[in-house]
């Protein structure tokens, strides 16, 4: 790149020294390239590190925050907030041209926790019209939350915050 750059080196720039300078730079580049080529991560290295990372991350996730809900029969339970968000996210992703981003689920209803309010942000594919798509998202989230969680979604707020191009 700029191996040939002189940054205040104080060396005099006469034709002879410039040539030999260029030659040393090229040879140095050769050594650098060879050094770089000795360090190729092996697939089994990256796989090993990857597994350890995901295990540590999973352990951390299990200790994360919880959401307090209640079954229709009145049995209270708490569930990892990440699990609840995941149910909503999957419902949103099912809608063509939509990617779920931020998801918030709060216990609601009477008694509290017998229903849930959902607020979410999405990214939309360029060209999608928001009105009908928002309806599709609501239907999907409402159905999935009821089916997978077993609790009705009392309100679903959707905010489109970005556009993407496939």
């Amino acid at each position: 790149m700029d191996v040939n750059e002189h940054v205040g080196s104080g060396a005099e720039l006469d034709p002879m020294s410039a040539d030999s300078q260029a030659e040393s730079d090229a040879q140095l580049r050769g050594v650098i390239d060879e050094y770089m080529s000795t360090f190729q991560p092996e697939p089994e290295d990256t796989a090993g590190v990857r597994e350890r990372i995901l295990q540590l991350v999973r352990d951390d996730l299990y200790r994360g925050p919880s959401t307090n809900l209640q079954t229709e029969q009145g049995h209270p339970f708490s569930i990892s907030t990440a699990s609840v968000r995941s149910i909503v996210r999957n419902a949103v992703d099912l809608v063509d041209g939509i990617r779920a981003r931020s998801v918030e689920v709060e216990p609601a209803g009477d008694p509290v926790g017998s229903a849930a309010t959902v607020s979410l942000t999405v990214a939309m594919r360029a060209g999608i019209s928001f009105g009908p798509t928002a309806e599709a998202i609501r239907r999907s989230v409402s159905a999935e939350v009821q089916a997978e969680l077993g609790i009705p979604a009392a309100r679903i707020d959707i905010n489109a915050e970005d556009v993407y191009v496939d």
């Binding site: 191996v3 650098i32 000795t38 092996e42 990256t46 990372i53 991350v57 996730l61 990892s80 981003r101």
Partner: protein
């Protein structure tokens, strides 16, 4: 300094194919989030979407590992830094105010850990490696004479790199090997472009002087 990984004889295209096959069998179902933009992945990951985080790991792990290998010259150290960096990223992703800047942020975390590790190494001169321990293997197809020369110059280059300060070394690797511009290095390390130029100049001077007569 001991460079652990020898030059592989497997041609790059075969290696890539093997990697692709390995990963194809790794995941049970198709991961739609493989194609998601970085902002979507980061926003989801910081709310506990482990699949989104996995997609981020897939995108950055190899690059980070290669960067750490080049900077640290030791496979175990490099793996430890990459593991610590990505786990720290998961835990502190709320600290990232601009999801789009995830790549720069992750490089900064890794660079800082590399710098710390190099400093700790330099503070323990008793741990200095015997150059005869070098396990770099030159290309076996070259002539004996040439391969002896090549090995020595490469070994010597590794020694010279070790004499750089940890900041110089990390900065120099980011620029000369990772291919980041001065501006990108400055953003990554959170320092001024002027500081970047200064470090790279001093590093280059030291390298040129150290390699005199070896090239």
């Amino acid at each position: 300094m001991k460079i652990i990984s020898p030059v592989k004889q497997v041609p790059p295209d075969v290696a890539n194919l093997l990697t692709a096959i390995a990963f194809a069998y790794d995941v049970g179902m198709t991961r739609h989030d493989d194609r998601f933009d970085i902002v979507t992945l980061v926003v989801r990951a910081r709310e506990g979407d482990i699949d989104a985080f996995e997609a981020l790991v897939d995108r950055y792990e190899t690059k980070l590992l290669r960067f750490c290998l080049r900077t640290l010259g030791d496979r175990q150290d490099a793996e430890d830094v990459v593991q610590d960096t990505l786990v720290q990223a998961w835990k502190s992703m709320n600290a990232l105010t601009e999801p789009a800047a995830f790549g720069t942020w992750i490089y900064r975390l890794a660079s800082n850990k590399c710098t710390d590790l190099l400093r700790r190494r330099m503070a323990r001169p008793s741990d200095a490696q015997d150059p005869d321990d070098m396990s770099i293997h030159a290309d076996g197809r070259a002539s004996v004479e040439k391969s002896v020369e090549a090995r020595t110059a490469l070994q010597h280059f590794s020694d010279v790199l070790q004499t750089l300060s940890s900041e110089q070394r990390v900065t120099w690797v980011l620029h000369q090997m990772e291919g980041l511009s001065y501006a990108e290095v400055a953003t990554t390390l959170g320092i001024s472009e002027g500081s970047v130029r200064g470090r790279i100049h001093r590093a280059r001077t030291a390298i040129m002087e150290g390699m005199e007569g070896w090239m």
